[in-house]
Symmetry: C2
Subunit: 205 residues, 2 copies
């Protein structure tokens, strides 16, 4: 691309460095920004700098937070005995949107992926084990994706907690099955097979 | 969306304010930025602020520029007698990429679009007319899109320059036709019809 100005080129390069944004899209966005007034663009640019400067990870659940301990961890309406283990903050937001979970979270910050050089020590697994070992936890729900990496992580945590799991601790994974509203004939075999294996008693409610 | 922090929410809102970027994409990009180190994010945010603060429009052709007059307008290798009129900077970049044009440009900054409240006075039409009237220009090439708005703009400029066009000035539009590499049977009727009307003598080169 022949940029008319290095300033434009730099801005385009910064935006196209984001995942999924190409040079042409970046240029379109930069030209859009150029049409905004100065305070608007300053607010835009500073939002990311302020975020990066001030964001904290909750020291209990490692979710993003404004404060040392996040709202969910502080809440006394949530059961501290049930911990839902997720990969990142987007999963917390997705589960919170359902309104179906009233325990607390633990954000791993990723999943074990040797291909990408991510090992257990890069994740918040030790702190999860420590939290569970220190008592009061009755159930750990693993809500990770069903990829090889996700399954590996579920198994790794299982091994770490196996002594407790033989005792009182429940170790569960979220249900996999045919999505509500989906046609059976279009469900993939693995999902359909799993939904039959893991069938549940009919409930009228 | 239940954001874990207002800082995250603000950054997501800023990004999703850009055209074509939704909340989910914005969140994915913000989480990507959070994984970068502080200098990287500062460079990211400041690139837009610096661009908006320092960018100038070339006083000759109204293209984006670092300086008062852009490189193309300053160049003595380009024919000042031929002016290619385009909508915005992206069109200049696209034509420059072809390497086929050796005249100068005039960036209108948009096209006449009553639906969007853009009239001739919002565009750099007066300065184009003034440039052409002040002599030396032998040809004006209109390289606008073939929409109603583009055609309206071509006609408006034609009316403004009609006296000169009756004299020595050539007033042309870029060729429309079947794209190189395209199959005839898939070309739309209007384009195919135009390509027959505007046929050119065969050339062996």
């Amino acid at each position: 691309m022949n940029f008319p100005s290095t300033l434009v080129e730099e801005a385009v390069n910064e935006l196209s460095g984001l995942p999924g944004i190409g040079k042409k899209t970046a240029l379109r966005l930069v030209l859009h920004l150029l049409k905004q007034d100065m305070p608007h663009v300053e607010k835009f640019g500073n939002a990311f700098i302020r975020l990066r400067k001030n964001i904290i990870y909750c020291k209990e659940c490692h979710n993003l937070s404004d404060r040392e301990v996040c709202d969910i961890c502080l809440s006394d309406k949530r059961d501290p005995g049930i911990i839902c283990v997720v990969e990142d903050v987007r999963d917390v937001m997705a589960i919170e949107n359902t309104g179906q979970f009233h325990g607390k979270y633990h954000v791993l910050g990723g999943i074990i992926s040797p291909m990408n050089g991510i090992g257990p020590s890069d994740l918040q697994i030790e702190s999860l084990v420590h939290k569970v070992l220190s008592g009061r936890v009755t159930e750990v729900i693993m809500a990770l994706s069903t990829t090889i990496e996700g399954d590996t992580t579920v198994f790794y945590v299982y091994k770490k907690l196996s002594k407790l799991i033989e005792g009182h601790l429940k170790y569960t994974v979220i249900a996999r099955g045919v999505a509500i509203g989906d046609e059976l004939e279009y469900a993939d075999e693995v999902t359909l097979g799993r939904s039959i294996l893991n069938r549940v008693p009919f409930s009228k409610s």
